[in-house]
C-alpha cells in the first residue's frame, strides 16, 4: 500500500511554490500573511486545547501581549529598541511568562471553568491595555515598528514576497518546534492529560506542572504570532484588534482544522482566514459591483451578509467533517490500520466534564 503523504509537508511545499504563480504583489500575499500569522496563533492554541485539552477562549489576549511586548521593545518612541529578531524572541518569552501567571492560579480548574477564566483574562487584557495609557498609548496603538533585517538586508513592508517567505519560514520553525514537542515525552504527557487526566496522574505525571508547561508554550507561540501580526501592520493597532472575536476565530481554526492536529491547524487557518480575506471579499466585490445606486435597504449591501455566510459556513463545516478537515493521526500508523473510532476531538472536552 502506498504510504499516505504527510499533509504538513504538502502544505509547506504548496505554500513555497505558490508565489511563482502570483507575481510579486497582490491580494494573494495579504491573505496569506494573515493565514500564516493565524496559523501560528492556532498552533499555540492547538497545544493548549488540542493537545492538553484545556479550552481556552482568551487566545487573543496572548496575541495582544506578544504584539504589545514586541512594540514596546522595538518602537522608537521607547528607549529599548532591541530590534526585530530579539523583539520577536522576547515577546515569545513574555507571552510564556503571561501564560504562566494566568495559569498558576487557574489551571487546577476543570474544563469550562477554565474557559470562562481565560475569556475573562481576554477582557482584562483589553481593559488593561486601554487603561494603562502611559505605557501602551491606550487606543492609539504603537507605531511604527521595525522591519526585519537579515545580514544587513532589510525587508521593507512593500516587499511582499520576502515577507511571505519570512513568515513561512517562521511558521516552519514553529511547526517543527511543536511537532518535536508533540513527539516527545513532553507531548505524550500533554496528550495523556487530555485523554484521561486521572489515569495520567496515576502514571506519575504531575498534572498541574504539565498543564502549566503546555499553557506557557502555547502562549509563547501565540505571542510570537501576535508580534508578527503587529510587525506586519507596523503598528499594534488598537487594543480592540485583539478582542473576543479573534479568540473565537482562532478556536474555529483549530476545531475546523482538526483538534490536536498540527496539519489541521495549518489547513484550518488557510480555510478560515482565506474565507475571510479572499472568498468573502470577492463575493462582496462581485455583488457590490451590481449594486445600483445606494439604497437604504439593509439587504442590498453585500457587506451586511458576511456574518451570515461566515456562520453558515462554520455550521456546514462541522456538520460535514465534525472531526475536522485533517484529524490527527497516530505516529507510525500506516494506511493499513483501521481508523481510530471518531471520538478524537471529543476527548479533550469530555475531560473537562468528567474531571
Amino acid at each position: 500500500m502506498r504510504p499516505r503523504m504527510n499533509p504538513i509537508l504538502i502544505f509547506f511545499a504548496v505554500a513555497a511554490a505558490l508565489p511563482m504563480f502570483f507575481g510579486a504583489t497582490g491580494l494573494f500575499y495579504d491573505a496569506f500573511q494573515s493565514i500564516f500569522v493565524f496559523a501560528l496563533v492556532g498552533l499555540g492554541l492547538n497545544i493548549i486545547t488540542g493537545f492538553t485539552g484545556m479550552l481556552n477562549l482568551g487566545m487573543a489576549a496572548f496575541m495582544a501581549i506578544g504584539a504589545y511586548a514586541f512594540a514596546i521593545l522595538t518602537c522608537d518612541i521607547y528607549p529599548f529598541q532591541v530590534g526585530f529578531w530579539s523583539g520577536l524572541l522576547l515577546s515569545g518569552f513574555i507571552g510564556a511568562l503571561a501564560g504562566f501567571l494566568i495559569g498558576a492560579p487557574t489551571l487546577g480548574l476543570s474544563g469550562d471553568y477554565l474557559a470562562i477564566v481565560t475569556m475573562g483574562f481576554g477582557e482584562i487584557t483589553l481593559d488593561v491595555l486601554k487603561n494603562l495609557e502611559a505605557i501602551t498609548k491606550g487606543t492609539q496603538g504603537i507605531n511604527p515598528l521595525p522591519r526585519p533585517t537579515i545580514g544587513g538586508w532589510t525587508i521593507e513592508l512593500q516587499d511582499e514576497r520576502s515577507w511571505y517567505y519570512l513568515l513561512l519560514l517562521i511558521l516552519g520553525v514553529a511547526v517543527l518546534f511543536v511537532r518535536r514537542l508533540e513527539r516527545s515525552r513532553t507531548g505524550r504527557a500533554w496528550l495523556s492529560i487530555r485523554e484521561d487526566a486521572l489515569a495520567s496522574q496515576c502514571m506519575g505525571i504531575p498534572p498541574k506542572r504539565t498543564r502549566m508547561i503546555a499553557f506557557a508554550t502555547g502562549s509563547a507561540v501565540a505571542a510570537v504570532g501576535g508580534a508578527l501580526f503587529a510587525a506586519l501592520l507596523s503598528s499594534t493597532g488598537e487594543p480592540n484588534s485583539y478582542d473576543f472575536q479573534v479568540s473565537i476565530l482562532v478556536l474555529c481554526i483549530i476545531i475546523v482544522g482538526g483538534m490536536g492536529s498540527v496539519a489541521g491547524t495549518l489547513v484550518g487557518a488557510a480555510v478560515m482566514v482565506g474565507m475571510n480575506a479572499i472568498v468573502l471579499v470577492k463575493l462582496a466585490d462581485l455583488f457590490g459591483s451590481r449594486e445600483q445606486g445606494a439604497s437604504s435597504n439593509v439587504l442590498a449591501s453585500p457587506n451586511n451578509w458576511k456574518f451570515l455566510i461566515f456562520g453558515l459556513a462554520l455550521i456546514l463545516v462541522v456538520r460535514v467533517k465534525p472531526e475536522g478537515l485533517v484529524p490527527p493521526r497516530l505516529e507510525g500508523e500506516s494506511g493499513a490500520q483501521p481508523p481510530a473510532p471518531p471520538k478524537s476531538q471529543s476527548g479533550a472536552a469530555a475531560q473537562g466534564a468528567g474531571a
Binding site: 491580494l27 494573515s34 492609539q140 496603538g141 511604527p144 468573502l280 451586511n304
Partner: protein, 420 residues
C-alpha cells in the same frame, strides 16, 4: 488531499482577483470605510456622497473614465474596522497603478495603519472623518507623530474635517458660556472619543470650570445607570461625552436623563446623525442636549452646500446625514484635483490636491493648509427638537488652533495628560 483542494480553491478565487485589473483610460478612486457592522449606517452616507460627486461630473474627466470602488475595511468577525483588512486595502491600492485617490478612513486608528503605506507610494489619501489631531499636527500627539506617517517626507494625507483640538475646545467654550461651573467628562476610551474628551477637559479647566471627574465607559455595557447616578450625585451642571453613536452615546444620554440628571449634555460630531436620536430616544434629548459638529448641518448650508442637500434628496430620496457632506466634499476635492492635474497619475493628482486653495465646497470656501488639514474652522452647535437636529449657533471661527496642547512645561508627552 484536503490541503490541496483548499489551496486550489484559494487559487481559483485569486485568479478571479487578478483578472479584474486595469483598463486604459480609466482612473480609479477607492474608498476604504467600515462597511460591515454597526458603522455601516454612517459610512453608507459617505459613500453616497462620493458617488454623488462622481455622478455630478458625469463619471468622466478629460476623457478619462472615473471608476469608483467602495472597499470595506471591516471584517465580519470584528464587526468593526479591522487593522488587517485596512492594511490589505492599503496594499491593494498601492499595487493597483490605476488608483490615483484613496478616500478614507473613517476611524483614525485605521488611518494610522494605511497612511505610511500610501505615503510611500505617493498615493493621495483624503479622509472624510478622521479627527485625531496627531495624524497631521505636530506636537499634539506622540513625539514621533505625524512624521512617522510621512516616510517619504511629503504630505499625502488630507482631511476635510476639522480636528478634535478645535471641536473639543468649541464644546468647552459653549459649556462655559452657558454658565456651568461643574462639569463631568465621560468618554468611550476610543481614539476619537477620548481625544476629544481630553481636549474638552483641558479647555474647560483653562476656562475656569471645575472638572469633577473624567471617566472612560465600557462601550458594551447594557446600561450606565450606576454611572449616571454618580454624575447626578456629583451635582454637576453639565456633562460631556466624547464618543459616537456606535460607542453607545444613545444609552449614555438615556441613562443620564432617566437617572434624573437635568444638566446640559454635550456630545461631539460622532453623534451627529439620525441614528443617535433614534438610539437615545428623541424625548431624552429634547431641550438640554447639544451636539457639536465640524461644519454646518445640511439645513444651514448655503450656496454649494444647499445644492448638495437638494441634489442628495433627489438622488437618494432621503435627507443627507451630517456625514454625507464630508464624503461628497472628499469626492469633489479629489475630482477637482484630477481635473486640474497636469498628469493624470498619482504624482500629478497628489500635487493638485495639495495645491487646493479657496475651494468652493459644500462646507464653505476653504483650502488645505501645510499639514493637510482643512482651513475650514466653521463649526456648529446643534440641539435636538421634536426628534430632529436644529441649528443653535455657529461657532469655531475664533477657535484657537492647538487648544489641545498641554500648556504647562511645554512637554507634549501624552503622559502629562494621562497621569490623573
Amino acid at each position: 488531499m484536503t490541503t490541496l483542494s483548499t489551496i486550489v480553491a484559494a487559487c481559483v478565487s485569486l485568479v478571479i482577483a487578478a483578472s479584474s485589473s486595469a483598463q486604459n483610460g480609466t482612473i480609479k478612486i477607492v474608498s476604504s470605510l467600515p462597511r460591515t457592522g454597526s458603522a455601516n449606517a454612517q459610512t453608507g452616507t459617505i459613500v453616497n456622497g462620493i458617488k454623488m460627486a462622481i455622478a455630478e461630473v458625469g463619471g468622466k474627466i478629460d476623457g478619462y473614465e472615473i471608476a469608483y470602488e467602495d472597499w470595506d475595511d471591516a471584517s465580519p468577525q470584528r464587526g468593526n474596522w479591522d487593522p488587517t483588512v485596512e492594511a490589505q486595502n492599503a496594499n491593494k491600492a498601492v499595487t493597483d497603478a490605476t488608483i490615483v485617490g484613496y478616500i478614507g478612513t473613517f476611524n483614525s486608528g485605521a488611518a494610522k495603519i494605511s497612511m505610511p503605506e500610501l505615503n510611500r507610494a505617493g498615493l493621495v489619501m483624503i479622509s472624510p472623518a478622521n479627527t485625531y489631531s496627531g495624524l497631521t499636527k505636530p506636537g499634539l500627539g506622540e513625539a514621533n507623530e505625524p512624521a512617522i506617517y510621512r516616510p517619504s517626507g511629503k504630505i499625502s494625507y488630507f482631511r476635510v474635517v476639522p480636528t478634535d483640538d478645535l471641536q473639543g475646545a468649541v464644546a468647552a467654550e459653549f459649556v462655559a458660556a452657558s454658565g456651568a461651573k461643574r462639569v463631568f467628562v465621560l468618554h468611550d476610551r476610543e481614539l476619537y472619543g477620548k481625544g476629544i474628551a481630553e481636549v474638552f477637559e483641558r479647555r474647560a479647566k483653562e476656562l475656569g470650570m471645575d472638572v469633577v471627574a473624567v471617566e472612560g465607559i465600557d462601550t458594551k455595557a447594557a446600561n450606565y445607570k450606576s454611572l449616571a447616578q454618580k454624575v447626578k450625585f456629583s451635582k454637576s451642571d453639565a456633562a460631556f461625552f466624547g464618543g459616537t453613536t456606535q460607542t453607545n452615546a444613545g444609552q449614555v444620554a438615556k441613562d443620564l436623563r432617566s437617572a434624573g440628571f437635568a444638566g446640559m449634555l454635550v456630545v461631539p460630531d460622532g453623534c451627529c446623525e439620525e441614528a443617535f436620536i433614534q438610539a437615545a430616544g428623541a424625548k431624552n434629548l429634547e431641550g438640554n442636549t447639544f451636539v457639536t459638529f465640524g461644519g454646518l448641518p445640511p439645513a444651514q448650508l448655503t450656496g454649494r452646500g444647499a445644492q448638495f442637500r437638494d441634489g442628495y434628496r433627489k438622488m437618494y430620496n432621503a435627507d443627507p446625514e451630517a456625514y454625507a457632506v464630508y464624503g461628497y466634499e472628499c469626492g469633489r476635492v479629489l475630482l477637482d484635483a484630477i481635473r486640474r492635474a497636469a498628469t493624470k497619475d498619482r504624482a500629478g493628482v497628489l500635487q493638485a490636491v495639495a495645491q487646493t486653495k479657496d475651494f468652493d465646497g459644500a462646507l464653505g470656501t476653504w483650502s488645505f493648509d501645510a499639514n493637510g488639514d482643512t482651513t475650514n474652522r466653521v463649526m456648529s452647535i446643534n440641539a435636538v427638537k421634536d426628534g430632529k437636529f436644529v441649528f443653535v449657533k455657529r461657532a469655531g471661527d475664533t477657535a484657537v488652533e492647538g487648544a489641545g496642547k498641554v500648556s504647562a512645561g511645554g512637554s507634549v508627552a501624552p503622559a502629562d495628560a494621562q497621569a490623573r
